[in-house]
């Protein structure tokens, strides 16, 4: 027989392991409902006979657990009739000993856990339950903070993309945007399409852009916002494309340490299908002809945010009926499966060639699907695609 001291030591170690494991389980969950369910399962039956979880003082408990499922309804009824047991150490309540432990983290009350035991309620058990509830409250607060960050990121992300796309008579336009990760971080990819004042020839014209700011998070988002608004404002002023890109480059450099590298394809399209393009360090745009031929339609120029003395030039081409202009960010071409990239050995060109005759939306969807299917691993980069097709 082990001595009493030794036995206590062992029991104590067992509880320590229990609390450590419980903490790990709680820390691994970011879903509030899951945290409450987990807490209840940790408390019942090891520490208590039953347990009720509250997220709002004036509302009935969101969860009620009892070791004997048949007693669950009676317990709910009693809780409704009597209200929660008092806070503090367990006191006689109904046929049991019971108490309520508030869920408090970082000074904020997030709810409460009521627990009860038939028969004796050893003080150690109450203290352990308090400890578990404390950790559960921290996990709940972390989940709340995570949800807040996620919704802030989503709002910021949405603000970096155009509210709506203009109607382009004679053309078919499709865009795809896929943020990387679980949405808690803002990505650096963006696109835009907007109408411009008519030029001297009186023709309707639109401008479009697709860009990739190096890095993620709010610092990258600040540069994305700067770029998108600068392009719109300077476009509305009728500034020629190369001048717009040059101006944006200087704006980014003026941000100093806060500046980020930006790869950008900026283009202008007239209602006659005439295309002007400035490709500043961005993956080169491609034109897919109805016969399946794929050609690069711009020449590489330096990306923005490096040096300020760049003379950008414009490449011109024409989108004939049935032609598709395809542009994307490196989230497409650098999609990785082991050591192989989607863009290796003209991978993207081959993919596009198989899309001949499809609508803009179908081309974007086909490439999107190919990116997803390329690897079983989730992608770690954002991805944007802009497809423009001249109607037959």
């Amino acid at each position: 027989m082990p001595s009493s001291a030794e036995f206590n030591e062992r029991t104590w170690r067992g509880w320590m392991t229990f609390v450590a494991e419980a903490s790990e389980l709680l820390a691994g969950t970011l879903d509030p409902q899951g945290i409450l369910a987990l807490t209840a399962q940790l408390v019942v039956p090891r520490l208590a006979t039953w347990c009720a979880a509250y997220t709002d003082e004036d509302q009935p408990p969101v969860y009620v657990w009892h070791t004997d499922e048949d007693c669950s309804d009676d317990l709910k009824h009693l809780l409704q009739l009597e209200g929660r047991p008092p806070s503090g150490p367990p006191v006689p309540w109904g046929d049991d000993l019971a108490c309520t432990i508030p869920l408090v983290a970082r000074g904020r009350e997030l709810g409460a856990i009521a627990i009860g035991r038939a028969g004796r309620f050893p003080p150690d058990y109450f203290e352990l339950a308090e400890e578990l509830v404390r950790r559960s409250a921290l996990a709940l607060d972390n989940a709340r903070l995570y949800a807040e960050q996620k919704s802030t990121s989503l709002a910021l992300q949405r603000s970096l993309l155009p509210p709506e796309l203009p109607d382009l008579p004679g053309f078919d336009l499709a865009v795809t945007y896929l943020p990387a990760g679980e949405g808690a971080e803002v990505g650096g990819d963006f696109y835009d399409v907007f109408a411009c004042p008519p030029g001297e020839d009186g023709r309707t014209r639109w401008r479009f852009a697709i860009g990739d700011v190096c890095g993620t998070g709010p610092e990258a988002a600040a540069v994305t916002g700067l770029a998108r608004h600068a392009l719109r404002i300077l476009g509305a002023e009728g500034m020629p494309l190369p001048d717009v890109v040059e101006r944006l480059n200087r704006l980014i450099l003026a941000e100093g340490e806060r500046g980020r590298l930006l790869t950008l394809l900026h283009g202008e399209l007239t209602d006659q299908g005439e295309l002007s393009l400035v490709c500043a360090g961005h993956p080169l745009p491609l034109i897919l002809s109805p016969d399946g031929k794929v050609t690069e339609c711009a020449s590489p120029q330096p990306l923005l945010g490096v040096v300020d003395d760049i003379d950008f030039t414009v490449d011109t081409t024409k989108l004939e009926p049935g032609d598709v202009l395809f542009s994307c960010t490196d989230g497409v071409t650098e999609r990785r499966d082991g050591d192989v990239l989607l863009g290796d050995g003209h991978g993207l060109e081959e993919l596009l060639a198989a899309c001949a005759g499809l609508s803009a939306g179908a081309v974007a969807a086909a490439v999107d699907q190919a990116v997803r299917d390329f690897s079983a691993e989730p992608g770690h980069d954002d991805m944007a695609i802009v497809v423009l097709r001249a109607l037959d």
């Binding site: 890095g215 590298l261 590489p300 120029q301 330096p302 945010g305 490096v306 050591d339 990239l341 770690h380």
Partner: protein, 103 residues
Amino acid sequence: MRLALDTRRDEDRTLVTARGSIDLHSSESLQTHLIGLLDEGDRQIVVDLAAVDFCDSSGLNVLVRAYKHARVTDAALVVTGAQGRVENVLRTTGLDKYLIREL
């Protein structure tokens, strides 16, 4: 694939040979290394990328930072040996004009 860096000094010139992939996981070690060399007073740095199979935008960012840091400290940083995907990405981003030069 991880990134291994080997540094040799030959008179005024410092040759940094990189092997592996320059991506989100490895770019910081390259940045620390290159900026460190410049801060220690190395004036002519050649980064050999012949054995680098991949360089993403975070890698390009590091090369640009080091290039800019060299310019303000009156030093020079160039890249040599880029091939395959790495050569392509330097060409597409127009960085070849700044980074691929004779010292």
